[in-house]
């Protein structure tokens, strides 16, 4: 990232707006976490006031019927209240942190997996998986199996075979015969994963494992790494042939250092862009899951489940739909705008 990048980025007004909202959202989410957690939070998202059901936004709290600890801050409901009299603004604050963490952690997982898998396919793709690798894997799983089932004699035999295999592996031509190249294997895996429509697959998995915030993050991360892997693979394939890599090799730089210090900084631009856009789609996916009722279990508020709870009162209390809906829209929009601006600014063809 040099000065040229920032000069181009600054000219993109929509991108700057996106960046501004992005930072604002970050601050709000962290403030929201601080203000809504603890034993006596300033904004209590789970305080039930049955006397104050479905109050419209900016209405004043009825101080006469509420006990002192039930009165919201400043005495007004900024976004109104829901069907249990809970303050929607507090619930939105709590939900902001969920959206933020889901977006960042899920994308972090998917980017990490994508970089590792794409990097292996791009850099080590020309190696072949040989027969003795397969045998090694078979023996290894056999060993673990007999260890778990406590068949000690089988474990002993497996270990002997393992040692034997390690000893003869370079001598036998059959064991050295390649089956499939690493690149073919990994692109095959990516193709298989791409066949599944992602939202439906995520929905299926999330519905069948116990619902929590972390499982959603992990599931979204595990099902969306394919794009990053493809980018990294393509970049690595072309970078590997470049002169500076050859020079580094000639200097005797270790492979680890070549990959992470020399090649990765050059391959990171498209990853960064797709990560930014990925955060937007992860937030949307989480909201969709919460909306369908699979997601962070209640009473914890997320923007998706505030909206889902509000749909019964669509005509009587539209703010229950509009507040979270507009919040999701604005945040996702800012990430999309920021990502597109980033793509333009990082594109070397646009830099004169």
């Amino acid at each position: 990232m040099n000065r040229g990048f920032w000069a181009i980025f600054k000219k993109d007004k929509l991108g700057m707006l996106g960046l501004f909202i992005f930072i604002l959202f970050f601050v709000i989410a962290i403030l929201g976490l601080i203000l809504t957690s603890g034993r006596h939070p300033l904004f209590d998202p789970s305080m039930i006031r049955l006397e104050e059901k479905l109050k419209p936004p900016l209405s004043h709290a009825n101080i006469n019927v509420l006990s002192p600890e039930q009165i919201p801050p400043f005495g007004i409901y900024i976004f109104g209240t829901d069907e249990l009299g809970r303050d929607v603004f507090s619930r939105m604050l709590q939900g902001a942190w969920v959206s933020l963490t889901v977006g960042f952690v899920a994308v972090g997982i998917s980017v990490a997996i994508g970089i590792v898998i794409g990097g292996i396919a791009g850099y080590f793709g020309h190696y072949y998986i040989k027969n003795y690798h397969m045998l090694l894997i078979c023996l290894f799983s056999l060993g673990i199996f007999s260890f778990v089932k406590r068949y000690w004699s089988a474990l002993f035999c497996t270990l002997i075979f393992l040692l034997l295999l390690l000893y003869v592996k370079t001598k036998s031509p059959f064991l050295k015969k390649g089956i499939i190249s690493v690149d073919t294997l990994i692109t095959g895996i990516i193709d298989v994963m791409l066949c599944f429509p992602s939202f439906f697959l995520i929905l299926t998995i999330v519905a069948f494992i116990p619902g929590s915030l972390y499982s959603i993050m992990v599931v979204i991360g595990l099902t969306s790494w394919m794009g990053t892997a493809r980018f990294v693979r393509a970049e690595f394939l072309s970078l590997r042939e470049q002169d500076f890599v050859l020079a580094a090799k000639a200097l005797g730089v270790s492979e680890f250092r070549i990959i992470f210090r020399h090649m990765m900084p050059n391959a990171i631009a498209p990853v960064l862009v797709s990560a930014t856009l990925g955060i937007a789609s992860a937030i949307l996916t989480e909201a969709g899951l919460s909306f369908l009722g699979f997601g962070v279990p209640p009473p914890h508020a997320t923007w998706g489940n505030i909206l889902a709870d509000g749909k019964q009162y669509l005509f009587d209390a539209p703010w229950l739909t509009f507040a979270p809906g507009i919040a999701i829209l604005v945040v996702v929009l800012s990430f999309n705008l920021f990502g597109e601006a980033l793509r333009d600014a990082l594109n070397p063809r646009l830099r004169y």
Partner: protein
Amino acid sequence: MFPFIVRSIIQKTITLFFISIISFSVIHLAPGEPSQINPMNPRFTPELIKRFRSQFHLDKPLYMQYLIFYKDLFSGKLCSWKDGRPVLRKIWERFLNSLPLFIVGTLLTWTLSFPIGIHSAIKRGGVFDKTATFFAYFFISIPGFFFAYVLIIFVVNTFHVPVIGMKTFGFSSDSLHMIMDRIWHMLIPSVLSATGGIAILSRYVRSQMLEVEAQDYIRTARAKGVPEDEVHYKHALRNALLPFITMFGLVIPGLIGGSVIIESIFSWPGIGRMAYEAILSRDYPVVITLNFISAVLVLIGTFISDLLYMVADPRIRL
């Protein structure tokens, strides 16, 4: 061309095998067994669970379950756990309900996004381009379920008509009214499913068109005095359209994947809603089959798009 088809079919068959394994094993990620659908249900006595297990082969090892499952699926004997009806027939019925929605949505997407994209590429940086770009980002970012409710509020408050379901209940006076009623109910869901598609596709058309317009042969065409319209619509457009032939094959999978949320909001008895209900009631055969079928549709779609590309672009002989 022929060797390509054979090679591609072999490849796709291998992929299909792994897809079948994944879609089968996803279900078994869940802790506990499928027979423990609801352990709190007092009607689930141990005998009943045992009978249930043997009836659905749950007492066999996993690989046998896998084999039996796909044997039943391909011979059409696979039955839903909920009502005991054949899964394939159930899916087919719901598919027929989803089909009109899908067709109208796809037609709207493909007829609207091309003119929008092309026009904003030609008038790059103009008012139309800026507006179109803004709305494209807006519709990409808006959550579908929120937009659905905004539309419902708007339509119900303005026209005072029902919008949920496939038809108005108890409303079947004569055929003309009935058809109008059906079309009316179809309108909002299909517009909804089209907006996202229009936004994405028109951006794609625009960038493709811009890329082609920057090529040397376009400059050559201008230099030799070809009229501007001809440059745009004859030289540039034809080349810009090429990648979209491949996207045509990828339309097919949208049949199942994209409709879960919209169909469950509008109580539309289609495939997406069936998937949602099956997941809620843990109807494993239906869930596995739907996952499997949608992945197979993607596979078929990519195959068709490869073929189309090869026919359309003489430069590519894969």
